[in-house]
């Protein structure tokens, strides 16, 4: 039987751990995380109630806020969902198809990560605007993208795509070709190999990528506001409404939106995490226990 002293010691890194100064590093890290993550989050949770519960309840009944939240979540969800097939195909062609210019495409995929979101926003607004290269022909067809919720989805798809590609790509690269061959030898047709073997194996990565793209979409601001038109109840996203409220000096309103956004995002991401565990059954040790 272990004595309690031993049991305690187990929690600490064993002597000769390769990370030098592990204890010091751990304490510093925890302190920093507390300062830059936990503290602001706590403040965000406490701040709304400081104006009094009444102000909070009043702010919570704002239908414009709920409309903005609904638009934010539905567009982020739709954009992430539409990114999934595109991301898979892109990752597939990067890994499997030895296309000329593959390296260029590979570098371009990360571009949405790198360029300032405002630049993205202006570019998209120009492109999809009524006189834009894409906006004009689309308008002729009766589809207006700019200044509608569709525009928000387009912008969010642009910023969300790399998440899917970069999540799926490494898994696909490690995917043993024997799995497809085995399925083929067992009589599976190509589409059966895709739906029964390839996609299920990629599913945890797809869900992860979806979760990241979705989370990014909820918080995205810069790339959206130029193309969205920002009409309350129609194309106004929640992060923008926070800015609007702050400009009106309505701190209770701003923080209450932030609070709801925080709670809803947490719930959504927990849902994604749960889904990921489910689809990872058998693929990642411990996922089914």
């Amino acid at each position: 039987m272990l004595k309690p002293v031993h049991a305690l010691r187990v929690a600490w890194p064993r002597p000769g751990d390769p990370l030098p100064g592990f204890r010091f590093a751990l304490i510093t890290t925890v302190f920093w995380i507390g300062l830059i993550v936990a503290l602001p989050l706590t403040a965000l949770i406490i701040r709304p109630w400081q104006e009094g519960t009444g102000a909070m309840v009043a702010a919570m009944q704002d239908s414009r806020m709920f409309a903005a939240l609904r638009i934010s979540f539905t567009t982020a969800f739709l954009a992430a969902l539409l990114d999934v097939p595109l991301g898979i195909i892109l990752a597939w062609s990067l890994v499997r198809a030895h296309l000329p210019g593959r390296r260029v495409v590979d570098a371009l995929i990360d571009l949405p990560f790198a360029i300032p979101t405002a630049v993205t926003g202006i570019t998209l607004a120009t492109l999809y605007g009524p006189q834009g290269w894409l906006g004009a022909p689309l308008k002729y067809l009766g589809i207006s993208v700019a200044y509608t919720a569709t525009g928000i989805v387009v912008a969010l798809m642009f910023v969300g795509l790399p998440f899917i590609v970069r999540s799926v790509e490494p898994v696909l690269r490690e995917f043993p070709p024997e799995l497809e061959e085995a399925a083929g030898l067992l009589g599976a047709r190509p589409w059966q190999i895709l739906t029964r073997v390839a996609l299920p194996t990629l599913m945890p990565a797809i869900v992860s990528g979806f979760g990241l793209a979705f989370a990014r979409g909820i918080g995205e601001y810069g790339s959206v506001i130029f193309i969205a038109g920002n009409q309350p109840f129609r194309s106004e996203i929640a992060p923008l409404l926070i800015v609007v409220r702050l400009q009106e000096f309505d701190y209770a309103g701003a923080t209450s939106i932030a609070f709801v956004l925080l709670v809803a995002s947490s719930v959504c991401l927990a849902g994604v995490a749960w889904l990921r565990r489910r689809v990872a059954r058998g693929l990642i040790a411990g996922a089914d226990s």
């Binding site: 061959e181 029964r196 089914d288």
Partner: protein
């Protein structure tokens, strides 16, 4: 099902230019036979197996399964069971779902009912002796269990031909032996035609009816264990199939004279004179006390055989002699008297009346007793 491979050649163009993986390979496997393809890595064994399964296209030549040309037929149309070296189990499916995969993907019209599939899966689980693991995921299984699941999965659609690519590679020696015996019994029980790829010659000789030795994309020899042992076609086959010693020398007027000292000459009937190489197994030699002979050192032993290091001057060779002989030879100087050997010239076996020359067990025929005209000819 029978398999017939005719003049199969496969070459690929890589970064270093054209590379030939298989060169004019012909192979005939009758229905119900167990054949092992052996050879060092890069010999083309797996390439040949994959070509038969339809996984890799051939550059020329053809493959017939049950007399039917396989040209242009996808792997799924060939009805062969294939077990990969890494098993390639579907990690996201349970063991039962892995096994039933081949049935689940059948078009609805041909697919057995759910209960029939469940019955079949439970029969196969019984067959691989893992009746309780149907609901487990592959990552929970040991290497040996995974291998059996891969086998059950390959057998679910009742293939007539089973192709096994290094199926024992990742198993520990004890499990290996057990699985080997079990696969052999399965082969007989199910009336399969089985082709096995392995780099372990002992495994091949042990389990298969016939062994096909490959080297550099060609078949060097094709025969049963006895043929390969008695008439190895080339020194490579001899060496590959077990520990061997090689002595260069001359054949002269019915005698083999080794170039090295301390090797007793031996008689070889009706072989043409000229340079030759005698190859022996380490135990096909006896010791002849000789004052001017080479020194001996015991380096170990197993199964009642002592391993002796014999100093031949320029090199040392290891031979095996019964432990019982040890006290007699310990510390003495000896010559080596070869008791049986296979003779090669220009990389091929010399065909005489009997390729294995049972040499003078030489109740001590000494160099001095060899007719003078033999020695003078050298």
């Amino acid at each position: 099902m029978s398999v017939r491979v005719e003049d199969l050649t496969r070459s690929v163009t890589g970064s270093k230019g054209e590379k030939t993986l298989l060169q004019d390979v012909s192979l005939d496997v009758p229905n119900g036979e167990f054949v092992a393809l052996v050879g060092p890595s890069g010999a083309g064994k797996t390439t040949l197996l994959r070509a038969i399964a339809g996984l890799d296209p051939a550059t020329s030549g053809q493959i017939m399964i049950d007399g039917r040309a396989m040209q242009g037929l996808a792997p799924r149309e060939r009805n062969v069971g294939f077990v990969f070296q890494n098993y390639a189990l579907f990690q996201h499916l349970t063991v039962a779902k892995n096994i039933s995969f081949g049935l689940d993907v059948l078009p609805r019209a041909q697919r057995p009912s759910r209960t029939e599939i469940a019955q079949k899966v439970s029969d196969l689980l019984q067959l691989i002796r893992l009746p309780d693991l149907g609901s487990a995921y592959p990552y929970r299984l040991s290497g040996g269990q995974r291998q059996r699941v891969a086998l059950a999965r390959a057998l679910a659609r009742r293939p007539g031909l089973l192709l096994l690519d290094e199926p024992f590679g990742a198993l520990d020696p004890v499990v290996r032996r057990a699985v080997r015996t079990w696969i052999r019994s399965l082969h007989e029980q199910l009336g399969l035609t089985t082709i096995l790829v392995t780099h372990d010659q002992e495994e091949a000789l042990d389990v298969a009816d016939r062994v096909v030795v490959m080297q550099d994309g060609r078949i060097m020899q094709d025969g049963n264990a006895d043929t390969l042992e008695i008439r190895p076609a080339t020194p490579f086959v001899m060496e590959f199939l077990g520990e061997s010693l090689c002595f260069a020398g001359q054949i002269s007027r019915g005698w083999f004279l080794a170039d090295e000292a301390h090797i007793e000459p031996f008689q070889v009937a009706d072989q043409e004179a000229g340079p030759a190489v005698a190859m022996i197994r380490p135990y096909e030699v006896t010791l002849v006390p000789e004052a001017e002979g080479s020194s001996l050192k015991r380096t170990g032993g197993r199964y009642g055989m002592a391993r002796l290091l014999v100093d031949l001057g320029a090199r040392s060779v290891e031979i095996l002699r019964p432990e019982a002989e040890m006290p007699a030879v310990d510390g003495t100087k000896v010559n080596l008297a070869i008791s049986s050997a296979r003779l090669f010239r220009d990389g091929h076996l010399l065909h005489g009346k009997d390729p294995v020359v049972s040499a003078v067990t030489a109740e001590n025929i000494r160099a001095s007793e060899i007719p003078a005209h033999v020695l003078s000819a050298n």
